[in-house]
């Protein structure tokens, strides 16, 4: 049999395979370049970027929980100027699409940042984080209120002609309503899910373990919630979906595709295994070959009910 076709497309971004790296878990790609071949994965999604450099939260910022971890990095990042000066030059040398994850503390910042990124030819698309639970000034509101979300999406849409992906929060009653609001406001694709808000406590010290008190839960623990949300949204509307949440293996990735995802992102798994994204992409190829499936796109939304 011929080699199976692993390529997929997200609103014009052509990916050699459906496996991307999730924002905040893969730095700016370079950090992992000793451990995998960056040209064997579908796309690199960079750490959440803001207009100005951001210090993030005090430490501890991470803690392991059963089957998962909490993080409250607080979106520490170098800011757009240092990103262009220090991070893009390396990424330019890698023949893999770079999608920039971004967020703003205010509505205006989202717009301004999108405008700046629109001018960078190296940036294949934007992934807008309206769902980070750690930043009180905005994230949480935009991500849980359909009207506020629509407002951000609309503004960013007017600020860029690049493919526009909106990353949704799972901390909502009705993810389909949020998805709907974003698509109506101009989103080309949706990433789901971001982290679930959680908390961990140190009994002996009688204190929250994270300096930020609460943090975002990621890892295998959240996979069932993520799969459910991907499936709900894919049932409700025809928009390309990027599935995220606890993906550790090719099997996990393919389950998300059956549920309706066109591509997936690997997050926490990068910490367990820095070559995870490549291993998962190779595992998908293996699975297709073994099962006589010539094109991975056949699996998208192929769940039988």
């Amino acid at each position: 049999m011929a080699k199976p076709d692993l390529s997929v497309e997200i609103s014009g971004i052509k990916l050699r395979n459906p496996v991307m790296t999730a924002s905040g878990t893969f730095g700016y790609g370079k950090e992992f370049s000793d451990y995998l071949d960056l040209e064997k994965i579908g796309a690199i999604i960079t750490k959440g970027l803001s207009l100005r450099p951001k210090a993030g939260n005090p430490t501890p910022r991470i803690v392991e929980t059963p089957g998962g971890m909490l993080n409250a990095i607080g979106l520490q990042n170098v800011g757009i100027d240092a990103f262009i000066g220090e991070k893009l030059p390396f990424l330019r040398t890698v023949d893999t699409p770079v999608i920039v994850n971004l967020y703003g503390n205010t509505l205006e910042e989202y717009g301004e940042l999108a405008e700046k990124l629109d001018r960078l030819p190296e940036v294949a698309g934007l992934e807008v984080n309206i769902s980070c639970p750690n930043v009180k000034q905005g994230g949480i509101v935009f991500g849980t209120d359909p009207n506020a979300a629509a407002e951000v999406v609309g503004l960013v849409r007017r600020s860029t002609s690049k493919p526009l992906i909106i990353k949704l929060s799972p901390n909502v009653t009705d993810v389909v309503r949020m998805a709907d609001a974003c698509v109506n406001a101009g989103a080309d694709a949706l990433s789901l899910i971001n982290t679930l808000t959680g908390m961990a406590i140190d009994l002996q010290k009688r204190r929250p373990i994270l300096a930020n008190i609460t943090g975002g839960l990621s890892g295998p623990a959240i996979k069932p919630v993520a799969l459910r949300m991907v499936w709900q949204v894919s049932q409700a509307m025809a928009v390309p979906i990027i599935g995220i949440g606890g993906i550790m293996s090719a099997t996990d990735a393919l389950e998300f595709m059956l549920a309706g995802a066109t591509a997936v992102q690997v997050g926490t798994a990068n910490f367990l295994d820095p070559s995870a994204a490549q291993t998962i992409a190779a595992g998908i190829e293996d699975y297709l070959a073994k099962n006589g499936i010539s094109d991975v796109k056949e699996l998208i939304g192929a769940l039988k009910i």
């Binding site: 905040g24 878990t25 893969f26 730095g27 950090e31 992992f32 000793d34 451990y35 750490k47 450099p53 951001k54 210090a55 993030g56 430490t59 501890p60 910022r61 991470i62 803690v63 392991e64 059963p66 089957g67 998962g68 971890m69 993080n71 990095i73 520490q76 890892g219 295998p220 550790m248 926490t268 990068n270 910490f271 367990l272 295994d273 820095p274 070559s275």
Partner: protein, 271 residues
């Protein structure tokens, strides 16, 4: 690099302290003292994250005694404090691990003419052994080893075999001098005012005290820090510590995993 490793031995050297030797690829010998490894304890999700350990020792089996060519190995010395180290301690010869190593920035050796003062608190001693091995080749080395009680004093004979002069102290006086290791160090420095540089690893309060001593005596001083880590490669920003220029307005966070774990004490903010 990332590699599969096999446990060669895993021995309890003191109650709750284990010394584990495991196979490693030949390139491991390029590791610099102070660098560390991240161990995936089990191919399962419990525990989820890798656990970081300093490199205690490195070596190569002599070919005369094995049929497998020159097998390189590395060693860690660890204390059982929770789930991950508990599981590690139950591993046997032949069990498998997945390792990232060597990670981070190690100790800078400095001027061989300087006397080298190593300060270890409890299991903070771990990375100092491989360091002492390297330093002792060209310099005079002294070790100040402290712990809460005699169970926390580890592998002193090994250091002495390298020709290191050792000074032991325990909080409760059950072994060596009674008191904090930094008190013993301070006393020594008051008497001996030759050129020297400090290398310290241990709990944060100890490191802070050592940094204070270094400042007062104007000595070069490197400290090896610990932090909760997820990625170990500078990507997740989970392990950060405040750099010397840090303020809320001008953030200066350093990654313990990538910019450290070893820092010159002046590069950090010690508040």
């Amino acid at each position: 690099m990332q590699f599969k490793s096999m446990v060669i031995s895993n021995v309890e050297v003191s109650p709750a302290y284990f010394r584990m030797r495991m196979t490693a690829p030949p390139a491991i010998v390029e590791a610099i003292p102070g660098q560390f490894v991240m161990v995936r304890v089990r191919d399962a999700i419990d525990p989820l994250l890798r656990r970081p350990f300093g490199i205690f020792d490195l070596g190569t089996f002599p070919t005369e005694y094995t049929d497998c060519g020159r097998q390189t190995f590395c060693e860690i010395l660890y204390k059982v404090v929770g789930k991950g180290t508990e599981m590690l301690s139950s591993l046997h010869h032949g069990d498998h691990l997945d390792i990232l190593a060597p990670l981070g920035k190690g100790f800078a050796v400095g001027d061989p003419a300087d006397e080298k003062i190593l300060v270890g608190g409890g299991v903070g001693l771990a990375p100092l052994y491989y360091l002492a091995k390297e330093l002792a080749k060209n310099s005079r080395v002294r070790l100040f080893a402290g712990g809460r009680n005699k169970e926390d004093i580890l592998c002193i004979t090994e250091f002495e075999r390298l020709g290191v002069e050792t000074y032991v102290s325990t909080d409760d006086g059950t072994l060596g001098a009674s008191g904090l290791v930094t008190e013993v160090l301070e006393k020594h420095l008051a008497e001996d005012t030759g050129r020297k540089s400090l290398f310290a690893c241990g709990p944060f309060p100890m490191l802070k005290a050592v940094a204070g001593i270094a400042g007062r005596h104007d000595l070069e001083c490197q400290v090896s820090l610990e932090a909760y880590m997820a990625c170990g490669v500078g990507a997740c920003l989970g392990c950060v510590i405040k750099g010397k220029n840090h303020s809320d307005q001008t953030p200066d966070f350093r990654c313990v995993c990538k910019d450290g774990p070893v820092f010159f004490y002046q590069d950090l903010k010690w508040d």
